[in-house]
């Protein structure tokens, strides 16, 4: 039941003293760790796939061990599975399901999630979805080759390419399962946040992480069921001879489709109605966490706290309204393009407001450079770098040139993939004591030295990989190209396309080296992780001098209180209540009732990690 490679999982099940009535299966902390383990496995697979892609682009002849040379369809399968795994099973699962299960209840002073059984069910459904996705590699024809967006008719007609038969069916099944699972877990999250808050934990006192989880969960509830409907229609088109997305007279490899007149554009609308909110689902928890960590380590209040709440909700709200900017050159009515482009530009403002607040929070604060803080700063940097190309791509006329070039790839990898991963790393280094503490043993810390190495190498690697991609994109290199040679023209001379693409090969070689560097830097993290699980230094109950409730001694699984004398926890103030006095810094956790207890509170939680 529990993943094997997390030895500390087993004792965790005994924390039911904290969560009455919850067995090991339904304990939210166990489920959270299960989610994180799943995400860890997924991210390892996804990274390896991306390395294969990078290597194949530069050295097409390079034979893969036990497989032989990578064929174009193999490359597209790599693209598809990489995108699907990373977006769904890493960037959605880890922050939104993993860390929210582990931290959210403690942060709002709840003993458990609202629906523990539903929680467990959605995890195992997610695991099933991942297995289904990976199993598609082994079916005849291999896995789907139509990318994570699966545009019909390519995805609707089995004979349109290898992997579009059984592989595509498995892909659709996997995503359908995942959609159901995340909807369920999001219902759980939202209900928990609304109903299970403890005394005094009001609207303005919720940590911004909770706001991030709340907005993302809300988006999942709205968006995923639309994807489910689209998948249902597509499966009908594939198997029952309907034509929701198939135009009449569509002739794929000699087979003409008769019957009704559907429209492929319809899928694009439905998919991107889901697909764009999905992007915010992936990044919103990271936004919240970054705000909290920057404030925590620079011992400041979050600048303009209420504005941060508003912008979080605004980003979520606008996120529903701008899916059309993925379709500027896809046959969308140009007037609609204008409308969607305006709503897309509009979302740049709440995002900029967040950045401004981050800058103001850390301005002249002489922060404490823990690894978690470093990764939060890295998140800010990457979020700015990736975000600034957003308004460029939001202008239809510029998108007409940049659409589906590696410029777009660079944009969304910087702002979603890299920033999202940095958020996850910050969360791991920050909350590691809470991840690892068990009833029999206090939580551990990860090694800061290794952490710093990990941060700097990853930070450099991230930029080294994705900044040059902007250039190759501007030079005209399209996405999804398994080779950059073009078809040779007459007597072996390069075709104009070949000439165009050949110019991008030198930077691509550099990108590949950088990607290998970036990937190998992650071994430091794995080493640090598994070393610290067993031999990490023991953490104090509040090692970071945090003010949020998850660091309350009673929330720590270590030495669970008998339920009879669990203290009644009340919240008295917004988080990040730090003050600078001439005697130095002082801080008031959310749960400390009044300044007279300030001293004791500090003594209780001022202890540095040894």
């Amino acid at each position: 039941m529990t993943p094997p490679n997390l030895p500390h999982l087993k004792p965790l099940s005994e924390t039911y003293a904290l969560n009455p009535g919850s067995s090991r299966l339904t304990d939210h902390r166990v489920i959270g760790l299960q989610y994180l383990t799943l995400a860890l496995i997924a991210v390892v697979i996804g990274t390896l796939l991306s390395l294969l892609m990078r290597i194949h682009i530069v050295w097409p002849a390079w034979p893969l061990w036990l497989h032989g040379s990578i064929l174009p369809e193999d490359y597209l399968a790599l693209v598809t599975i990489h995108g699907t795994i990373m977006l769904f099973f890493v960037l959605t699962t880890a922050p939104q399901a993993g860390f929210s299960n582990l931290i959210l209840p403690a942060q709002i002073g709840a003993r458990s999630m609202a629906f523990p059984t539903l929680n467990a069910a959605s995890f195992w459904l997610t695991a099933l979805a991942l297995i289904t996705l990976l199993s598609s590699t082994f079916v005849p024809g291999g896995s789907a080759i139509s990318g994570w967006t699966a545009y019909p008719p390519l995805s609707a007609i089995p004979n349109s390419g290898p992997g579009q038969g059984v592989g595509m069916d498995l892909w659709l099944t996997s995503i359908a399962l995942f959609a159901i699972a995340s909807t369920a877990s999001s219902i759980n999250t939202v209900t928990t946040i609304i109903r299970n808050r403890c005394e005094g934990m009001t609207w303005e006192r919720l940590p911004l992480t909770v706001w991030g989880w709340f907005t993302a969960a809300l988006l999942s509830i709205i968006a995923f069921s639309v994807l489910l409907a689209a998948i249902l229609l597509l499966l009908c088109d594939r198997h029952t001879g309907t034509s929701f997305f198939l135009p009449t007279g569509d002739a794929v490899s000699g087979v003409v489709h008769h019957g009704g007149n559907g429209s492929p554009l319809l899928w694009l609308h439905l998919f991107w109605f889901f697909g764009h909110p999905e992007v915010y689902i992936a990044i919103l928890p990271g936004l919240g966490l970054t705000s909290m960590l920057l404030a925590n380590f620079s011992h400041r209040r979050v600048f303009a706290y209420r504005t941060m709440i508003t912008t979080t909700l605004l980003i979520g709200f606008l996120g529903i309204l701008l899916w059309g900017h993925h379709m500027f050159v896809a046959g969308l009515n140009p007037f609609a393009s204008t409308a969607f482009s305006i709503s897309t530009i509009a979302i740049a403002l709440p995002a900029s407001a967040k950045v401004l607040s981050w800058l103001a929070t850390i301005w002249r604060s002489k922060p404490q450079y823990t690894t978690a803080m470093l990764f939060s700063l890295g998140f800010v940097s990457l979020f700015i770098a990736g975000g600034l190309t957003g308004p460029i791509l939001a202008q239809p006329i510029l998108d007409e040139y940049l659409h589906n070039t590696t410029f777009v790839v660079a944009h969304f990898h910087l702002i979603m993939a890299m920033a999202g991963i940095f958020g996850l790393y910050a969360a791991t280094y920050y909350w590691f004591p809470l991840l690892t503490s068990t009833p029999n043993h206090p939580g551990r810390l990860m090694s800061e030295t290794l952490g710093r190495w990990h941060f700097w190498l990853t930070f450099i690697g991230a930029y080294a990989v994705f900044l040059p991609m902007h250039l190759t994109g501007l030079a005209g290199e399209p996405r999804h190209y398994s080779q950059l040679t073009g078809i040779p023209g007459t007597n072996g001379a390069l075709s104009p396309t070949g000439v165009l693409l050949a110019q991008t090969i030198p930077p691509n070689r550099f990108i590949t080296y950088a990607a290998i560097f970036l990937a190998s830097a992650q071994f430091i993290f794995l080493l640090n992780l598994f070393r610290s699980l067993r031999r990490g230094p023991v953490a104090a109950s509040n090692p970071w001098q945090a003010t949020t409730l998850e660091w309350h001694p009673a929330m720590n699984p270590f030495t669970p209180l008998p339920a009879s004398d669990t203290p009644a926890i009340q919240i008295h103030r917004p988080p990040c209540h730090y003050q600078t006095t001439e005697s130095g810094g002082s801080f008031l956790p959310q749960w400390v009732s009044d300044p007279t207890q300030e001293a004791t509170a500090e003594n209780a939680s001022d202890s540095k990690p040894e």
């Binding site: 709205i222 508003t310 529903i320 701008l322």
Partner: protein, 75 residues
């Protein structure tokens, strides 16, 4: 004072939403020349797409706002 957050959200969101929808009706019938030059879709189809887009967005934003309202009641 405390409510200002939610009101700010709802207000600015409505503004943004209006911003999104303004150009749609503006060109509802307009520009028969665009008809074949842009999407080669009949006005009926364009209207249908517009209706579909509006239905989706209205329901979604409605749900979003409703949930916020519920949350506010449970503050």
């Amino acid at each position: 004072m405390k409510r200002s957050a939610i009101y700010k959200v709802v207000f600015s969101a409505t503004v943004a939403f209006a911003l999104l929808l303004v150009p749609l009706p503006l060109h509802a019938q307009g520009c028969t020349q665009c008809l074949d030059n842009t999407a080669a879709t009949a006005p009926a189809t364009q209207r249908a797409y517009r209706r579909a887009i509006v239905i989706l967005t209205l329901t979604a934003t409605g749900l979003f706002a409703t949930t916020l309202f519920v949350f506010k009641r449970h503050r």
